[in-house]
């Protein structure tokens, strides 16, 4: 858990090795049954090199990345993400981020999740932390 957060702080890097299992588990847990997220032959027919992570799972990992660092009292107000290259089995998704602003218990994070061929996800997360009594 992070006790004090300031603009410019870097979040520790989180590396997620991607397997078909990771991608399929996320797709089904998020109730996304589009075959491009679980059926390799279908994904290739649709012009993709393999099955790829669905956006709900990407959003879930973005949320996890922030709260793993900020702690269980972080309450997300906003997750805004944009997808780039697909997240494919056999690659590693490497999350990094930094604090853009931290004032009065409201923290804004800018982050990215990159693979070896480019950014899979870039975006912003805003969360609040309980403000301690007597804090400015």
């Amino acid at each position: 858990m992070t006790t004090s957060i300031s603009a410019g702080d870097e979040l520790p890097v989180f590396e997620l090795p991607l397997t078909a299992s990771v991608i399929v588990a996320g797709a089904i847990a998020s109730r996304d049954f589009m075959p491009v997220h679980h059926d390799r032959g279908y994904a290739i027919e649709q012009g993709a090199p393999d099955i790829f992570m669905n956006i709900l799972t990407t959003t879930g990992y973005v949320s996890r990345y922030v709260t793993d660092w900020a702690g269980p009292d972080a309450m997300l107000q906003k997750i805004a993400i944009r997808l780039g290259v697909p997240a494919l089995p056999g690659t590693t998704l490497r999350f990094s981020g930094r604090v853009v602003s931290a004032e009065a218990g409201v923290v804004e994070i800018e982050l990215r999740g990159a693979t070896d061929i480019g950014d899979h996800v870039t975006g912003t997360v805003v969360f609040t932390l309980p403000v301690a009594p007597g804090a400015p």
Partner: protein, 181 residues
Amino acid sequence: MTAEPDTALRARLEAFVGQPMGASPSVAPDPVNIAMIRHWVDALDDRNPVYLDEEAAARSRFGTVVAPPAMLQTWTMARPTIQGLAERGGAPGPLGPSALTMLDQAGYTATRATNSELEFERYLRPGDRLHSATVVESISDEKRTALGAGYFVTWVTTYTDTEGGVVGRQRFRVLKFRPAR
């Protein structure tokens, strides 16, 4: 594809802008529940204790277990008919007239989500029953992308609880494109 942009198609698509999307409004098949939260937590290996650990959640600002906020969209996802999966177009079930089906029929059969912007008014608790209402916000002109020619379709969903209180909002954008083989 090097064809001229289909202005007739573009005009027909425009009629969907500002209109409710698909089966909207919809009601979550199940209330927010521990079983689906556990499935999510295990799938993403997210060990934030406020999602499942009642004692840790009671000590937190939330006071009780809460659903992972990123699950917001999951609760109202349609129940799929897996056999045939909408005749392999990938939709959970037969789709009514919509901008997406019109694009499918015009050959823009592939879908890639490009943007998701979620806002949370409050965290959901087990027992909450979600309703969602979705409106098409905009449809782009035909764009040439690295994936192929396609249209960006953007919609906005408002999520409410049984009392009608807004619990969250989402702006979501997909590219519907002709897959380059």
